[in-house]
């Protein structure tokens, strides 16, 4: 019988406590982010897909077309090409595509790049209609950014 009363009284009390908690939450500010209108700022260590880094002097990519990143990539995501323009010693990057469908974001390419010409982007909002949408032309992206 004492069990019964402690059940009834304890139950009533805990129900009231529960109501107290939810009503407090009701008047507290909203904590969710209104996603399509608001974005989170990604932390500096966030690894998005790779992106070319801009050379501040020339405005073009920093890349020297050494091909190390292509070799380092275990999944073979990176395809690049370059050519030497007339009267120049250095190669210029003409094509840099990243097949993001295969990328594991391991970061080996970024590590292997001596001049620091590639870096992780902060892009996370990557929804697309087809697989082909994930083959990125990084030179184009670099131009769009500047």
């Amino acid at each position: 019988m004492s069990n019964y009363w402690s059940d009834v009284l304890g139950g009533t009390k805990s129900l009231a406590v529960g109501l107290g908690i939810t009503i407090k939450a009701f008047f507290q500010p909203v904590v969710t982010m209104q996603y399509p209108r608001e974005y989170v700022k990604m932390t500096p260590r966030f690894r998005g897909h790779i992106d070319l880094v801009k050379n501040e002097e020339t405005g073009g990519p920093k890349c020297i077309v050494c091909g190390m990143c292509q070799k380092a990539c275990p999944s073979g995501c990176i395809t690049l090409a370059g050519k030497k323009p007339e009267g120049s010693k250095k190669k210029v990057l003409t094509e840099y595509t990243l097949d993001f469908t295969k990328c594991s974001l391991c970061g080996l390419c970024v590590e292997s790049c001596k001049p620091g010409a590639i870096d992780f982007s902060k892009e996370f909002n990557l929804a697309g209609p087809s697989r082909e949408a994930y083959v990125f032309d990084l030179i184009k992206r670099l131009k769009e950014r500047s």
Partner: protein, 333 residues
Amino acid sequence: MTANPVVRLLISLLVVIGFIAFNAAFLVWVERKGAGHIQRRIGPKEVGPYGLLQTVVDGVKLMSKQLFVPDHVDPILFRVAPLLILIPAVMSFVTIPFSDVLVARKIDLGLLMVFAFASVNVLGLLIGGWGSGNKYAVISAARAVSQNVAYEIPMLVTTITIVMITGTLNMNEIVAQQAGGFWNWNILPLGKNFLLAAIMPISFLIFFICSLAETNRAPFDMAEAESELIAGAYTEYPGMGFGVFFMGEYANIIVGCALATILFLGGWQCPFGLFPGVHWFLIKLYLLIFTVVWIRWTYPRTTIYGLLNLSWKVLIPFSLSILLLTAAILKVL
């Protein structure tokens, strides 16, 4: 008020249906907003200011769906069931007094009539589940019946307590007796009788819990249990068939809260005895409805055992003892 009784009846019916439709739409919005804020998110906000038009849009969506009647169902019962939920709720409004004059029909047995119609509600659920010809729907309909039977008893017993105190089944009369200030209300009748004031709050609590259970509201919504049984008894209902069930549910919530307001909270009476009127009724009504929403998003759903235990082991003994105590108090003092 000398208009032709038929005209008067039609007008009040139209007003009541409008009131219910508006409230159903508005309450769905309140429900979703309440859920949102309790979970510290915003809830609907895209359609219309503060998402107010969201339920209108949802309604249009439901109406545009095909009214699909599956092969294996009982065609007549299947179609009748949603109406059996909605119509009794609409009929109950006929006797519910919103204010001194704002009542479709002042019936001496008004309270009896409301409870008579309220018990048709469970028939609608049972028929809906049975007519669906689906095991899960039948199971949840059976649960709904056992639940309704279990909770109708304490609810009626507490109502009898009130009837004993007021000596009438006429709801206008019951409210009129609570005039003068909150100390005269039946929830805490300090102005009338101190001993009664000690037990009536428990009575109100029992009544409120029962009206939650009667309307199949969370935490007592096993019949529906959308997360386990996929809307239980309504599993087979598409589009607006389902929508009507929901409107019926919300109408029943309003009836339940209106009854609690009338029986315990002094109906349209002002807490300080100043300006009684329909606004007080609505304020109390919507505060209770908010509590219903608040409760829904606070407690998890109980099990069927928990539900029946609560009724048979706690609510019924308590309501019966209160009935006896009230009788003793009224007789002796």
